[in-house]
């Protein structure tokens, strides 16, 4: 019987798209990362071995600080959104009047493009007309994200939580719904308290989904750009200058393609590595 190539032909379209959208750009980025190449000052690429990587890892305090800032941001937003998402999921699992309307309102932030979220928060934080400074004034807080680094960082964190916690909530709600009711009822009959149910039933049975959504949130939050760019532009100082913003500045303002490619390669592989760790934990958990 002759070999049937039909299945390969059926998947070849997807392979071609992957090739052009992912593989070639990655290879080209790697090629650029081995060169000194600036569109304005060094328009002819010149090979520099791994010097870009050496400079990045040994000397570039600014980018390294951006990485640390980015990780701090991602860890905080992931953990907090998990807690909030869980709370939302438990709340949504109950039956109450207006539940469907509440669900729609809760999911509205998800429907907004990131740039719109950033613009909206920028208006809300405006010292002249913003609602947030106005309300905080009553608490005796002089709120100004253009001047206070801590205010800016916390605002960016809250903005991200506001935007993406509904997604976490929805995923965990689905996970909650998949737990057999009999288990919960048996536990209640046996007199299990709420913390005990949480610890011995909900968390173990939802662990995979919690880990999965944590992985998604962590990866996404590391790559955040639009919202922060609109709200603070990376300032004040460098307090909200995460890797994506530093990269944007390097590639599209300084036009430093070679070094920017090196930074993006390292950034990509850091995300892959962290995701791989979380994936391994998932696999172990599954086993």
């Amino acid at each position: 019987m002759g070999k049937d190539f039909t299945p390969w032909l059926l998947v070849i379209g997807a392979f071609v798209i992957l090739l052009f959208n992912d593989v070639f750009p990655t290879l080209y980025a790697f090629y650029l990362s081995l060169h000194v190449y600036n569109l304005v000052t060094n328009p002819q690429p010149s090979f520099t071995y791994l010097n870009n990587y050496v400079n990045l890892l040994r000397y570039d305090l600014d980018i390294n600080a951006s990485f640390i800032r980015g990780f701090t941001f991602s860890i905080l937003t992931t953990i907090i959104s998990l807690f909030l998402g869980l709370a939302v999921a438990f709340f949504m699992a109950k039956d109450f009047k207006g539940k469907s309307i509440f669900r729609i309102i809760m999911c509205l932030p998800l429907a907004m493009p990131p740039i719109t979220v950033g613009s909206m928060w920028k208006l809300m934080c405006n010292p002249n007309i913003g609602i947030i400074p106005y309300l905080l004034k009553f608490l005796g807080i002089t709120y100004d994200i253009s001047f206070n680094s801590l205010h800016a960082f916390i605002t960016v964190l809250i903005m991200d939580l506001w935007h993406w916690t509904p997604l976490v909530g929805l995923v965990l709600l689905a996970s909650l719904a998949s737990i057999p009711k009999q288990i919960i009822e048996s536990a209640e009959v046996d007199g299990a308290s709420w913390p005990q149910k949480l610890r011995y039933i909900y968390f173990p049975l939802m662990a995979l989904d919690i880990l999965f959504v944590a992985m998604i949130r962590f990866m996404d939050s590391l790559k955040i750009f639009d919202e922060i760019w609109m709200l603070t532009g990376g300032g004040p100082g460098t307090s909200t200058r995460l890797v994506s913003i530093a990269l944007y500045s390097m590639v599209l303002k300084r036009w430093d393609m070679g070094y920017g490619a090196a930074v993006s390669m390292v950034f990509t592989y850091v995300i892959i590595f962290v995701s791989w760790i979380l994936y391994k934990i998932l696999q172990v958990r599954r086993a």
């Binding site: 000052t41 405006n126 004040p236 307090s239």
Partner: protein
């Protein structure tokens, strides 16, 4: 797995049962092996190759002779051509000429990218429709913020995609880069090879910014905008007898446009009466603070923001970025922010205009292309209440003759990948011809690109119309050579600005002292320049 699917997989993939885990694992191994192989191949290939890193930069330096500037107070007599009155005959001539010349290009479309400034907006709304009507050539203009314009233009040139026929240029560094990359053509050469397409009355040398857009003898584009960043103030407040009396009582000198930054600060303090009035405005947002520093630094005797032609910034290396004058400048800059409106730390060039229009600001250094809205827009609360003057200087560091006023000019350059170069040339001449330059001057509060118009009685009439002295001051600036260059194209200024702004914003936020910020910035920039081969 359904039996049918299992059979299908077995028969299709060599009879071997492949689980999802195995497939993913195999794929990852292949990818990793390919990646490692590429690394080894790249290193081996290039190591064995003949490519070497250039030891000298590939950027060309243009040397121009700059006439020695004179002091501000001296009077210079220059012979300038007086604008011949625009008669009906001349007006018809350009339009008739265009109708004739454009016949072969009827039906084509030219695509233009421009920064969204009032002049480009005026061209788009007033001149483009008439041009289309006269010539049958369609014009599509895309107006964006400066960052987006530069990005799209560079990517269009890099990709040779030829999306745009005309590129907007307003910096010498950008012009030099575009020429070096072969992205734009020499307008002089085009005019010489196609003399029929040159309007006889055009008078190219009459355009003020023409010399700025000339690079190694080549003309990058035909200018259509020219304006200065001038000290702008509320003359209604300055002329109010009560305000004058109170000010003189407090500070001991007559309230007038300041000549020094000390005087500026006193005026700022005097007029800061929150929440209705503030004494200062500028643009310290992360995206614009480096521009502010670079533009205003001249008044502190800090040319080009302390960045030298040798691409150095630190004092040790011959620069001025971490010099005493630079530190004094940054300290004052930060100190003045307390006299600004709430939220000033996020102000960009847009807020310079919009905040001034609200009537809540007493003074500032505003861009000339924003002033037409300030003095002429129906939304402006300060129409007829604004005037301009030369900016203040820091006497300790400023030396007479040094340019102090940021001069901005914009032109459109023809893309070398354009298939409609001739049609584009016709459009450029339509925009910048004397007749339309005069209209622009009249409609836009005095933005003037032509010497003959600037030194004509018409200029005084327009100043009177807007009840201010913008064109008078512009004349003074031109005659005294007070407008800043740059005089030499230095593409690395883009890198300098981008590396400088994080340090400046840290100083503004109080995370570092001005000294620390400037010292760190200077060291970092110099290190980068050395890496680039300078």
């Amino acid at each position: 797995m359904p039996e049918g699917d299992e059979k299908f997989l077995k028969s299709s993939f060599g009879g071997k049962k492949v689980s999802r885990r195995e497939a993913l694992s195999t794929g990852a191994k292949i990818g990793l092996a390919a990646g490692l192989g590429l690394v080894a191949g790249a290193v081996a290939g290039y190591f064995g190759g003949t490519l070497t890193r250039p030891t000298t930069p590939t950027v060309k330096t243009v040397t121009e002779t700059v006439t020695a500037p004179t002091t501000i107070t001296s009077t210079i007599t220059k012979t300038v051509s007086v604008a011949t009155p625009v008669t009906e005959t001349k007006k018809v001539a350009i339009e008739e000429w265009l109708k004739d010349m454009a016949r072969p290009f009827k039906g084509t479309t030219i695509r233009i990218i421009a920064e969204s400034t009032p002049p480009s907006g005026w061209v788009n709304s007033v001149l483009v429709p008439r041009f289309e009507e006269l010539t049958g050539i369609k014009v599509e203009m895309e107006r964006l913020g400066w960052d987006d314009v530069l990005r799209k233009e560079l990517l269009d040139i890099e990709g040779k995609s030829g999306i745009y026929d005309l590129y907007y240029i307003d910096e010498l560094e950008v012009m030099a880069t575009f020429f070096d990359k072969g992205g734009i053509i020499d307008i002089y050469e085009l005019m010489e090879t196609k003399p029929d397409l040159v309007y006889p009355e055009f008078d190219l040398p009459d355009l003020i910014p023409v010399s700025y857009f000339t690079y190694e003898g080549k003309l990058a584009g035909i200018p259509f905008e020219f304006f200065l960043r001038l000290y702008t103030y509320r003359k209604d407040l300055f002329n109010d007898p009560t305000e004058k009396r109170n000010f003189e009582k407090e500070y001991g000198w007559e309230l007038a446009p300041p000549k020094t930054w000390d005087e500026y600060e006193q005026i700022a303090k005097f007029f800061t009466r929150p929440p209705d009035l503030y004494g200062h405005i500028t643009m310290p947002s992360p995206g614009t603070i480096a521009f502010d520093f670079w533009m205003l630094g001249w008044t502190y005797g800090l040319p080009n923001g302390g960045f030298t032609l040798k691409r150095r910034t630190s004092v040790n290396e011959g620069g001025l970025l971490d010099s005493d004058r630079s530190i004094v400048f940054l300290k004052r800059y930060i100190n003045l922010l307390k006299y600004g409106s709430p939220g000033i730390l996020n102000f960009t060039w847009d807020e310079l205009r919009s905040e001034f229009m609200t009537g809540r600001v007493a003074q500032g250094i505003i861009f000339g292309d924003q002033l037409p809205d300030v003095v002429g827009s129906p939304e402006s609360k300060v129409r007829g209440k604004v005037d301009v003057s030369l900016p203040p200087v820091e006497p300790k560091y400023y030396f007479p003759g040094l340019p102090i006023i940021y001069g901005d000019m914009g032109c459109w350059a023809i893309s070398s990948a354009s298939k409609n170069k001739e049609a584009a040339l016709l459009f450029l001449q339509w925009v910048a011809c004397k007749e339309n330059a005069q209209r622009e001057m009249s409609d836009l509060g005095g933005l003037c690109t032509r010497k003959s118009l600037l030194f004509s009685p018409l200029a005084d009439k327009i100043d009177k119309k807007f009840n201010w002295s913008y064109l008078k001051v512009v004349r003074q600036v031109i005659m005294s050579n007070l407008a800043t260059g740059p005089f030499v194209a230095v593409p690395e200024i883009l890198i300098y600005r981008d590396m400088l702004y994080p340090w400046l914003t840290k100083a503004v936020a109080g995370e570092l002292t001005p000294e620390e910020a400037l010292r760190n910035a200077a060291n970092e920039i110099d290190k980068k320049m050395k890496e680039l081969g300078f």
